[in-house]
Amino acid sequence: MLADILVLLSIYALLGAGYVIVYRSSRVLNFAYPEIFMVSAYLGFAIVATVQIDPHAIFPVGFVIGVVAGILIYLFLMAPMAGQPVFAAVLVTIGLGIILRGLVYIEFTGQSIFPGSELGVDNSTVDIFEGLSITRYGLVMVVASLAIIAGLLLFFRYSRLGMQMRAASFDPKLAAYRGMNIHLLFAIAWGMSLGIGAFAGGLYGMNYQIGIAISLVGIKALVVALVGGMDSLTGLVPAALIVAAMEILVQRFIDPALSEVIPFIVLVVILLIRPWGLLGTKEMIDRV
């Protein structure tokens, strides 16, 4: 059971990071992220299935597609929304999510696919120690998400580009005066976020199954991002732990049907007590 929590925690943390990067850079909650997560699972699988390359290529391929898609989405959809009120931009992301779901219907007619068995990939469980038996892709998921989150923390804290992105997110006008090409910075942010989403999509698909409904995992990850504080990467891991642990425990001991609602109950409770989340900066709220 610990393994289930660990894997779920890493998915939520990974996707939460995707939300945080976009929110910190362009002040927009990317409501298309769940669909991007789902589409990249399908896309990665389709590429690997048609091009017959080694199934593990689904991760790098997914990441590259995600980055390119992120940059394009920013330039064509988000940049023109620069002057508009914030939630007009959010509505654009909702519209984008709907289009992505439509595209999946054309190609895959919403069938749920089991890439593990379809591509003949061995995803059996591996026993690390007595209590913990985790599937191979689950293990990859946990390791990858910790690595990516640590990498992001270092990037934003110490690299020059990271600092510029933090600066641009707070005050784009001043950043532009200081010679930072804010469109480039925001495009990179969206690229990174969608790259991570696509990577997580591929991993999730290989570990469980690919289907239209997996986009709900993306919505629950939004809850995790908010609980951790919409603009803090450090708050992600504890928040993901809380939500994942509660969900699995309720699923096991109380009533699985309730487990699906848990993240949203946590969301409403956190919104009431600490809307700025565990580690988010308080005045961020007024900026919204």
């Binding site: 939630f87 509505l91 654009v92 984008l96 289009i99 439509g102 919505i219 939004l222 949203f264 009431l272």
Partner: protein, 345 residues
């Protein structure tokens, strides 16, 4: 009645009522159903327009309110209470629920309210599922609960024609209510709240009270719409109330045009009729059954998304913005060069 002050408006309104009266006699079965369906959807859109259009509180909880309206109506109607009272009970319950949801939401602003409403949506959905499968006679509820006939005492609403007149009446009442509401101080406070809530607070508008009023009125109307919908359908089942339903209502308000009553009309008709229009388009071009099956479904979804984004980027004022521009063009016809400031209706 300042609403119909000019002679034109009086004549126009009379003409409209006339069309409304003779239409059901002329129209075919499906046409009437589409009109009824559109009117039901417009009432729902007007409800959301008060909250999102006027008060600027973006909400994805609308489907949940419709669901609550439906299930409360079922629960109350089981006790044999007549149809009009059931709808009133659902509306009152909706208002109370709006208060319950609104009160905590006062602490939040902007995007955080959207998240709170998404949370509210999934919690209500869970409760509805539990309610539907827990009743001791739930064994009979495989296809959802059956609703009794909607009888108004003097007439039973069983045929589409009767429903058409009834819904027409309801729509006119709701529109009148919204139009009058729009001219009161409450709506002006809402608009200030939408435009710049910090300055609104500075101007002495008690944010909390007006935000709460927006939630209460909007959810009361939404539950009424939900209740009417369930009576019209004759059965209520949990699978109908999805987040996509909430998004489509939000799209109606956005595409229609913020804070414009008539904009909600345009948005609601646009979204409600689009699937029928696309189906008709496929049949018009005699698409082979195979392409119909494979392209019909995704095209509806994609067109919906594209239209939503298109309006947001190119015409943020929505259909009403376009409408006003056309109307102003005609009104100033010979002199209508591009006008800097469009007269706000």
């Amino acid at each position: 009645m300042a609403l119909f002050d000019t002679p034109y408006r009086k004549a126009g309104m009379a003409l409209l009522l006339g069309v409304g009266l003779i239409l059901p006699l002329v129209a075919g079965n499906q046409l009437l159903h589409i009109f009824n369906l559109t009117m039901l959807v417009i009432v729902g859109a007007l409800a959301l327009n008060l909250l999102t259009g006027f008060a600027g509180q973006l909400s994805l909880g609308h489907a949940a309110f419709l669901g609550v309206g439906g299930y409360v109506s079922h629960f109350v109607s089981q006790a044999g209470i007549p149809f009009p009272l059931v709808v009133l009970a659902a509306t009152a319950f909706g208002g109370a629920l709006g208060f319950l949801v609104g009160a905590p939401a006062l602490r939040l602003r902007g995007l955080y309210i959207v998240l709170a409403t998404v949370g509210f949506h999934y919690i209500v959905l869970y409760l509805i599922h539990v309610y539907q499968s827990s009743g001791e006679d739930s064994i009979l509820a495989l296809t959802g609960f059956l609703m009794p006939e909607a009888d108004l005492g003097f007439v039973v609403l069983d045929s589409a024609v009767r429903w058409f007149y009834f819904l027409g009446g309801v729509l006119i009442l709701t529109t009148a209510f919204c139009l009058n509401l729009a001219r009161t101080r409450v709506a002006r406070a809402w608009i200030a709240l939408r435009e710049r809530d910090i300055t609104a607070a500075a101007l002495g508008i008690n944010l909390a009270v007006y935000k709460l009023k927006a939630f209460v009125v909007s959810s009361a109307l939404a539950c009424m719409a939900g209740s009417l919908l369930v009576y019209y359908l004759g059965s209520v089942s949990a699978e109908y109330y999805t987040l996509d339903l909430a998004v489509s209502y939000l799209a109606m308000v956005v595409i229609g045009g913020y804070g414009s009553i008539f904009g909600s009309y345009l948005g609601a008709c646009f979204i409600a009729l689009m699937p029928f229009f696309i189906t008709w388009l496929f049949e018009f071009f005699e698409a082979s059954p195979r392409t119909q099956v494979q392209l019909l479904v995704p095209s509806q979804v994609i067109v919906f998304g594209l239209v939503m984004i298109g309006f947001l980027i190119f015409e943020p004022r929505g259909l009403i913005g376009i409408w006003r521009r056309i109307r102003v063009y005609f009104e100033l016809w010979p002199l209508s060069r591009s006008i800097l400031a469009v007269r706000r209706d």
